[in-house]
């Protein structure tokens, strides 16, 4: 009896030692990979920041109105944002690789799924950012054109453009992420189609006179309208 207990204890001790001996090197390898990843991420961040500074991306972002959106969202400049993103993405990637070295089967499966999903997240963020930038730029261009042409409903036009681009951007982002893909596409088609159909009916039936006047004004009396302003040069 005593002998059996002792054997069990020895067995358990041996197993523990074996497990530790088996786990410790892998754990150390994981730590080395994470530390190495940290260094690589720092270097990449530094290089990207220099490259982006040389290309004057901040100025382009300022001109396109993206910087304003970032400031409103209390985010840093586009250069800082991109370089930080690359730092975290790189390091996160190394951490996942390090964790996979531990050889825990269930964890490995989750990590591999996460690694497959990462590029989609990155592309999704990129689509969202470009979409917001485009919406801001185009809506401002429409606002200026409408105001300078003397249209009274400039803001409605601007917000319509902005809203449409936002819907399109969000749908594209969700589709990229694979979130309820079919539902998103259907919802977008329904919303967009309904909006256009509604506008067509509203303008065609409710605004016949307005449409005629607008077309007459645009096609027929452009010169006359311009003549009512003094010649600038």
């Amino acid at each position: 009896m005593r002998q059996t207990i002792l054997q069990g204890l020895v067995q358990a001790y041996n197993n523990l030692v074996h497990m530790i001996a088996d786990f410790l090197p892998r754990f150390l390898v994981m730590l080395i990979i994470i530390v190495l990843g940290l260094l690589v991420a720092f270097v990449l961040k530094y290089i990207l920041r220099i490259v982006l500074s040389l290309t004057k991306l901040d100025r382009v972002s300022e001109e396109a109105g993206a910087s304003r959106i970032l400031r409103i969202a209390h985010l840093p400049s586009i250069t800082a944002l991109l370089s930080r993103s690359i730092f975290w993405l790189t390091w996160f990637g190394f951490i996942l690789i390090g964790l996979s070295v531990l050889g825990i089967a269930s964890l490995q499966e989750q990590i591999s799924r996460l690694l497959q999903f990462l590029p989609e997240v990155f592309v999704g963020i990129l689509i969202l950012f470009v979409g917001l930038m485009t919406a801001n730029f185009l809506s401002r261009a429409v606002l200026l054109a409408a105001v300078n042409a003397g249209l009274r409903s400039a803001k409605i036009l601007t917000w319509s453009i902005r809203f449409l681009i936002w819907i399109l951007t969000i749908s594209m982002t969700l589709e990229e992420l694979g979130v309820a893909r079919q539902t998103v596409i259907s919802a977008f088609s329904i919303i967009f189609g309904a909006l256009m159909f509604g506008l067509a009916i509203a303008f065609g039936l409710g605004g016949q006179d307005l449409a005629r006047k607008a077309l007459e004004k645009y096609l027929g009396n452009t010169n006359k309208e311009r003549d009512k302003e003094p010649q600038p040069l």
Partner: protein, 427 residues
């Protein structure tokens, strides 16, 4: 001569066959054979009456149509040359047509004329517009004579104008360019001007021809190049400018892009020229100064005011990111005024324009958008001008314009300070 040329081989061959000349007049014709033919006639008359002993050539830069080519002589491929002997002239007047497959931009047309002037070692050159319906031989002579006889390098035109014509020139382009460049050239943006062969070569050698502002409106850049490089500049009175009535009138947005945007671009690319310049110098003028005439106009002042008011309200956030907070607050306060009490003070207008120029330099928003955002405020300014000067005489308007110029000069340190300040982050 510039090392790389934009001239086609055939054109170079024909120019060489013309040989060295004393005078070149360049025209850029667009699908209007009658106007081009009229321009040819006026230029040749000008040569015969005023430069009968000089060797002269007319360079017509056109593209994408046959009418202009026919007007210049024969339709022989890329180039047509016609030599016109006359009774009075002792020399042959050559006609050369540089024909592009598509209508060339004003920048390309000017570059072609400059390259031809450089190649033919011309002493005096002029650019005229076939769109000007009252192009006369004297007009050509007035552009060429100061260069040929008085050794000037740049000749800007001066016109007789109606009281409410050229308000952008009078309220922004002239006073601002005078304050910045210390040179009182009134008409920086005109499609008629004269220049020396020396200036042509100097401009040709600058690496700016790919820039959009030069492509669309090169004349002000040429004037600024002349002023900043100590070339001799003057103005010459040409009388009234009558434009052919074909096509729609100028679109205000396009005019702003091509003039105000161009001036801001020139400021940005030639900072060293104007930052140190302190006080403006008068420019020698041939003929009378600018003349103003009073005629009945069909201006809708109420609509202009409405567009100003609407624009300031709608563009609030955009103006907020461009203007100094104090300037923006003042503009918001005058928007509330009634039409009959509304005044856009000159000091506020100058600060507004200078804020826009500095914001253009710092690129706080897209530069094209920034220039467009100035249009509603310009409308406010011209409404104020129309109200203030509806019954003013030419002398009173001229006096008010002089005061505005002085205000632009007085506030120049404000612009310099804003220009050199580090970009301020506004949320």
């Amino acid at each position: 001569m510039a090392e790389d040329t934009i001239l086609a081989d055939d054109l170079i061959r024909q120019l060489i066959s013309v040989g060295e000349v004393d005078l070149i007049v360049g025209i850029s014709s667009h699908n209007n054979a009658t106007a081009t033919s009229h321009a040819y006639h006026a230029i040749e008359q000008g040569f015969q009456q005023h430069f009968s002993r000089q060797r002269a050539v007319i360079v017509n830069v056109c593209g994408g149509n046959n009418g202009d080519r026919d007007a210049s002589g024969s339709g022989l491929g890329d180039l047509a040359e016609k030599n016109v002997p006359s009774v009075n002239s002792l020399r042959t007047v050559h006609r050369v047509t540089a024909d592009f497959s598509v209508p060339p931009s004003p920048g390309l047309a000017l570059r072609t004329v400059l390259t031809a002037a450089d190649l033919l070692r011309a002493r005096a050159c002029a650019i005229v517009s076939p769109g000007t319906t009252n192009l006369t031989p004297d007009r050509i002579a007035n552009l060429l004579m100061p260069v040929f006889r008085e050794k000037f390098d740049f000749v800007a035109p001066l016109y007789t104008r109606q009281k409410f014509q050229g308000l952008l020139t009078r309220n922004l382009l002239y006073p601002m360019s005078r304050a910045l460049l210390c040179s009182g050239i009134r008409e920086l943006y005109s499609d008629e001007w004269g220049f020396s062969g020396r200036l042509a070569t100097a401009c040709l050698n600058q690496d700016v021809w790919h820039e959009e502002p030069i492509r669309t409106r090169p004349e002000a850049w040429m004037a600024i190049s002349a002023i900043s490089s100590d070339f001799r500049c003057c103005q010459s009175f040409l009388g009234q400018k009558l434009q052919s009535a074909t096509g729609p009138g100028p679109d205000i947005v396009e005019v702003f892009r091509q003039t105000v945007g161009n001036l801001f671009w020139c400021m940005d690319s030639r900072q060293s020229t104007w930052l140190d310049c302190k006080r403006s110098e008068p420019v020698q003028t041939f003929g009378p100064g600018q003349e103003l005439t009073s005629v009945q106009t069909d201006l809708d002042a109420g609509r202009i005011f409405e567009m100003f008011r609407n624009g300031v309200a709608e563009l609030g956030p955009i103006l907020g990111s461009i203007l100094d907070p104090e300037t923006h607050a003042e503009i918001n306060s005058i928007v509330a005024c009634e039409e009959n009490t509304f005044r856009f003070r000159s000091d506020l207008w100058v600060r507004t324009v200078y804020d826009f120029a500095a914001s253009y330099h710092h690129a706080v928003i897209n530069r094209d958008h920034l220039v467009q955002a100035l249009i509603p405020l310009y409308r406010g300014m011209i409404f104020s001008f129309l109200m203030e000067h509806s019954h003013s005489s030419a002398a009173e308007i001229e006096s008010a314009n002089e005061k505005l110029c002085v205000e632009f000069e007085r506030q120049k340190p404000y612009l310099t300070e804003k220009w050199q300040a580090k970009i301020e982050v506004k949320s």
